[in-house]
Symmetry: C2
Subunit: 190 residues, 2 copies
Amino acid sequence: MNLNRPLILASKSPRRKQILENTGFSFIIKEKEIEEIYPSDLPIHKIPTYLSELKATAFEDELKNEIVLTADTIVSIENQALGKPKNQQEAIEMLQLLSGKKHEVITGITLLTKENKITVSDTTEVYFKKLSSAEIDYYIDNFKPFDKAGGYGIQEWIGYIGIEKIVGSYWNVMGLPIHKVYQLLEKYFI
Amino acid sequence: MNLNRPLILASKSPRRKQILENTGFSFIIKEKEIEEIYPSDLPIHKIPTYLSELKATAFEDELKNEIVLTADTIVSIENQALGKPKNQQEAIEMLQLLSGKKHEVITGITLLTKENKITVSDTTEVYFKKLSSAEIDYYIDNFKPFDKAGGYGIQEWIGYIGIEKIVGSYWNVMGLPIHKVYQLLEKYFI
């Protein structure tokens, strides 16, 4: 698949890189440090698109011919937004909260060019079985999920043994709803 | 996780091997050639458990202390069961049939010991977007999905760009509902 413009993935997530690579698009990675701050009264489901737009904004003044792709993923449960756990204790608390329940993983993506900005979001429901303390401790000790929203990676041990069901896109849970990225790139840039 | 008996995975699928490895169980692979024949009047949703039991039966007379795990996966759509495509033409026809529709992936698993046999099945709904002929041809030419039920691998290009949603276990679509395998092994063999 050849795009008619250069594509920039503005994310340091190795998972987003891997997923985008697997679709066969050529791209480079270029990330800008952005403080991920959103208004405290923003509804949870709007946080990811707010932040993906914010990340894209940082590129606004320098784009010539390129397409910039940004993304932001959060976990939403019981009216709380979970980002990345700061430490072991926070990771334990997040997994205890997710244990035995359904939560939502929401990713916002923004495609920015000099002329246009397209933002969409995707939601996947994830159902965890009841996790034992031993399972939570084993996972955090061995996988150190401090770079992952909600404190887990679906593609890791905890996802294999603990997730009973998802409703939506699997790749969205990993951080990039690739079917929607493909659809937009194909529609506008091929 | 240490099991109290040796575990044998009786499958030549590299995907099942990979999934079971990722749960951390030790096992060996031992496969027996079995003709996968089932009664023509068997309801589609019973085919996978019928075949996983058939595959397990081949081990019945030689088990001492071991647990044998067998599995069978089919794709079910519009009252047809799709197995592995025999050639390019069949692969094209299968993907044309799946295009723009929902289908079900059903995996049967059997755990056999000298004393007991446990069989369960797991179903995942998969929703494909409308696939173009170019997409179908590109996928089959490059990925040659002749070892995969329904003619596709969810973890391959076609899964990234073409699957909009699943309802159920992702690993089940790849051929092994690992959360159920783990649950049974943990319950009976730890």
